[in-house]
Symmetry: D2
Subunit: 394 residues, 4 copies
Amino acid sequence: MAIESSNETKREAPIRLGMVGGGAGAFIGAVHRIAARIDGQFQLVAGALSSTPDKAKASGLELGLDPERTYSDFREMAIRESERSDGIEAVAIVTPNHVHYAAAKEFLERGIHVICDKPLTSTLDDARALQALVEKSDALFVLTHNYTGYPMVRQARAMVEEGAIGAVRLVQMEYPQDWLTEAVEKSGSKQAGWRTDPAQSGAGGSTGDIGTHAYNLGCFVSGLELDELAADLDSFVEGRALDDNAHVMMRFKEKDGVRAKGLLWCSQVAPGNENGLQLRVYGTKGGLEWTQKDPNYLWYTPFGEPKRLITRAGAGAGPAAARVTRTPSGHPEGYLEGFANIYMEAARAIQAARNGVAVDADVIYPTIEDGMKGMLFVDACVQSSKQNGAWVKV
Amino acid sequence: MAIESSNETKREAPIRLGMVGGGAGAFIGAVHRIAARIDGQFQLVAGALSSTPDKAKASGLELGLDPERTYSDFREMAIRESERSDGIEAVAIVTPNHVHYAAAKEFLERGIHVICDKPLTSTLDDARALQALVEKSDALFVLTHNYTGYPMVRQARAMVEEGAIGAVRLVQMEYPQDWLTEAVEKSGSKQAGWRTDPAQSGAGGSTGDIGTHAYNLGCFVSGLELDELAADLDSFVEGRALDDNAHVMMRFKEKDGVRAKGLLWCSQVAPGNENGLQLRVYGTKGGLEWTQKDPNYLWYTPFGEPKRLITRAGAGAGPAAARVTRTPSGHPEGYLEGFANIYMEAARAIQAARNGVAVDADVIYPTIEDGMKGMLFVDACVQSSKQNGAWVKV
Amino acid sequence: MAIESSNETKREAPIRLGMVGGGAGAFIGAVHRIAARIDGQFQLVAGALSSTPDKAKASGLELGLDPERTYSDFREMAIRESERSDGIEAVAIVTPNHVHYAAAKEFLERGIHVICDKPLTSTLDDARALQALVEKSDALFVLTHNYTGYPMVRQARAMVEEGAIGAVRLVQMEYPQDWLTEAVEKSGSKQAGWRTDPAQSGAGGSTGDIGTHAYNLGCFVSGLELDELAADLDSFVEGRALDDNAHVMMRFKEKDGVRAKGLLWCSQVAPGNENGLQLRVYGTKGGLEWTQKDPNYLWYTPFGEPKRLITRAGAGAGPAAARVTRTPSGHPEGYLEGFANIYMEAARAIQAARNGVAVDADVIYPTIEDGMKGMLFVDACVQSSKQNGAWVKV
Amino acid sequence: MAIESSNETKREAPIRLGMVGGGAGAFIGAVHRIAARIDGQFQLVAGALSSTPDKAKASGLELGLDPERTYSDFREMAIRESERSDGIEAVAIVTPNHVHYAAAKEFLERGIHVICDKPLTSTLDDARALQALVEKSDALFVLTHNYTGYPMVRQARAMVEEGAIGAVRLVQMEYPQDWLTEAVEKSGSKQAGWRTDPAQSGAGGSTGDIGTHAYNLGCFVSGLELDELAADLDSFVEGRALDDNAHVMMRFKEKDGVRAKGLLWCSQVAPGNENGLQLRVYGTKGGLEWTQKDPNYLWYTPFGEPKRLITRAGAGAGPAAARVTRTPSGHPEGYLEGFANIYMEAARAIQAARNGVAVDADVIYPTIEDGMKGMLFVDACVQSSKQNGAWVKV
């Protein structure tokens, strides 16, 4: 038995990690750092934490980085680190979206693995260029669609695959928030500022920031491919350039003889909702329901039988959940553990690459393809909405 | 203080009630009878409970009706009862949809008040003809969109009216069920049989049976008028003639400077959902959330403050809820009480008519207009879906 | 198939019912009247609704009673009604506790069936005298421990009987309220007034008013008999003469080789609790959990398997629930329906008596024995608490 | 703003940590290691992970420890590490209870800070000896009553302190589990084995393992001191030497003019309960309710107002929660984050000691006194139960 319950592979030297973005005031940078630390598989050794030199330096100090390896320019970091014998093996990119491509490029071209926040990029062109780069690079590209790291999401996916709910008919996704109910971007919120700015975020507001998560989750669990969608996007807050609410109808490609349908709702203006990500999948033989608010539970209804509450590490949970589980049932795991599971999977893939062996078949992480799908989803939403909700193929 | 808590008006003789439909094997007829009994305002004295004479007779006997007033033909009942000095004052019509119009006509033309199950009729033509009849009749017409009878639904409506959530931006409605997941209409379920038969139900399947309820509820609480919708309807079960799932995007008419949007999902093929009616309304200043599963609770979030749980008869519940409440907080009321509240309101209106006085301003019940809206909703859903989800004005 | 779903017996003339207590301002009287009306098995024809003549008269008028059959003295009512050929067959006693015995006596001695609110009486002596009366009377005595009327409580009892959870080890009961958190009895609350007055309520405050309900429920479902208890009672509100909070440890008599233990908590001073009745029963093979807040659900865990949510009228619910169910699954039933089920069971027993036939074996209602158990429970609590929580046999 | 949201103090060199216990097959050792890693404040550099040399060695290798610093004897580790200039500054003791004292002694006497799992020791004598050692040592002693690390538990404590619920009247604690429903200790479960063995666990079974947690939580939040208790302990599983279920009535010392009462239920034989720790505290002005199942929520009812749902990092949560929070509201944190908060507080205290400065006043962690209280609680439970539930002073 491995010591760290199911999460420990045979101990190797930690992966040397750098970070682009994530200086003072950032939210997601801190999340990546914790996720990288939880299982001890990574060690943060370098950073271009800010493009403002003073801030980059201060942030590096605060994180205990060697001042020599604290950069204010990610390109310089890529060059210098790739020259060191103890240089970083992987980099986490946690900047606003418009920087993802340029940063990823520098590292991929130098064979440094990239763990990149979503959405992939701020433009489709960048996304396509990045895809081309990834395809010809030996380095790995991991996108942090972190919700796929939740054990009960893994469990749901495995159950759909195994036929527990029969052929899928319906995929209902939602991700409501309320933090942009008012025009906080005008009163100095840095998070709100870049997320509502097309130049930094891209064409999608709520669709890009959270709709992509919900869509990724729906596909991940259902195993379906989207065919076309019809979307109605709004910017309810006056003067806001990007959508803050989206209603989307979906038609998936036929599978198992059924052409499934879906609904996706994402919103940043729904008071009372914090991060209300929810997924419900219904098939010919049963239904599955999961919500981030109670992430350790999965509701499963075999049609005609009582609903069952499957719990992480409890009765009814299988190996797909177990391999990303750290604590016994009834001791709740949360967002950071789910995020850490993406890092754990990345570590397994990177260690396999380091050792020149094939990665285990059960390692799952979101890839450049998932990133492209998210970009095409946002693009289709925007196109459809501009065409008054016409169906748009993705 | 009235004896029956808030629900008692000064006691008058009970209203003499007849019933069309509702014989053995029916579900909704029994519900209407209980609803009529709970507050003692009605007395069932006549019935055309079935068009099959033997069954009509047996059903009448079982309900303790005078055999002389047990009919197998609703027209005969209308004629005979209108001739009696102790004839029925009101009739409940609880047949499959395609009979609503013909039955209602006979009673309305004879000045007998009609309490009719929804949807209004099976065809738009019938609906329009019925509307014309109601307009020229002195008799009242009450449609049992029963969910508007729930105290916390009344509370929600009052709070929206009072501005508790500001200008409404979003109205999210859903009503998932699972009982038609398989083709039970082919294996002898009487309920499934007529509900999936266009000749008896009309053009809408799930849209007519439950979608109209969700739509009515959304309008009732939000106070908004629908402008147009885009719908994607499915009949997932092979050979089913009517929709068993509908995805609908909505655009409401502008109010308070906002053009609100909505999503409506109704389904009869979502395993694990019994009668999962849910309404969420979000505005510029707050949100309200209600579900039939927990009908005694209303979640209210003033934006920027903690969510509050308003309970029926508890702190935070106001007069709109109190006047349709029978028991103290913490003693749950349910579907039958909500349904009875429609009957109670009908009784108040009928008693006012009986006494030639104006009905109290706070009496609320669904009318022929609500019925027409439901018919137009179903029609628009069907038209939009036929046009590949194009926006259709209602 | 019976018309009123499972709840209709072959229609007979309604049972002629009288009522003692329940005039203006009462809570439980109105509840009894609704419960008696829901299934149409009773007709209220006489009342001694108040001992104040004017109030009795006004209350009778408001309920539409014949003024001749509106009494201000229950003894007079018993005499006069027993002399009429159309006199009452049954009487509902809904006064404060200290009147139960005297009133019940008058009717039982004249062969009139008694449906009595709980607790049985205000003193043990009265209770014993009443028990003796019931034993020698031909009339029936039904105690409205109404929570045993909930379908999922019936379901739970049936499952325990069938061995679904093995031998019972633990019975955890609680009934917290908050309405007596402050000294409302001093500011004119009539309900609070008599319930905190030993002369009207008896020796128990929270123990008598709600503790008896929780205890009755625990015994009803578990099938166990209490052996002894240790109690710690408090009157947290200054000047209150009766307990407003009770902590009770219980030891049941051995059954199936196990001597089960229990905890009971009842409180009227727990802010945030309305009528939080809850029961949890655990055995060697599984557990059952039910709460009045969600009365249509029963949680069942077969040990080592996922929790299952059994719903009223849904998959997993058996005949014990079905026979006291009126609406389909997902349409919540509540407190009044549960209460009405006691009246329905009483009607079946009274009709059997009327017809001189044996009552069906599946008819269940709380009896004088249950009432005695409740009295002995209160007495034991009070005795134990006076002896500093010593174990007291019941 | 600190980079790691509120959790980062100015970065210092990580604290060099050793571990006693926690080899292969252990549960709590892995939890301690993750907790120590999450915020990057500790670095595990040495271990006596097992007393079996081969297992100790293998475990050390797997964790990436220097083989020179992998010991099979904690005494040897204490001696050798205290001689190194880079020796451990702190040690985590995660063995079965009976080893806590002997291990802690070796490190405390050498000035090495101790972070020890609970309960404190296996005997009262050991506990008293340990207390004496701690009092005369310069090293810190931190007990991992980890549930006090949950942000909403901190929030609850702060609210009680600030008077949000007035004077406390009731403290209701429970911690049900089901994993010992059957005699798994006889079929090779290592966890079950030592936890049901008096020689390794001490006098308390469920009382020691989980009852101490519930009791600690109740005192932590309520701010009350226990005066006396009456307990009824059971070993429901045949042949089990220690209690697997406990019912406890409590009387607290007077505070704010009120002598509060409490109930505590802990169980390892309640099927359907995983780690169902729950706390409810009621006072003269309101109530607070928290459960580990939904650790990011705190229910707060100001008496006479609607219940409010306070969420971690959401509206209504104050600084006491914020300082132990890592992610935005709606992104659930769990057990590991709560545990890590104890380590974070320990780090702050150790760093203060390292720098010779006073620790910040807002640093909170469980101490030797909390450990003694837990021991006295278990002892009182056992004594009371032996005396047939008599009240025993603690």
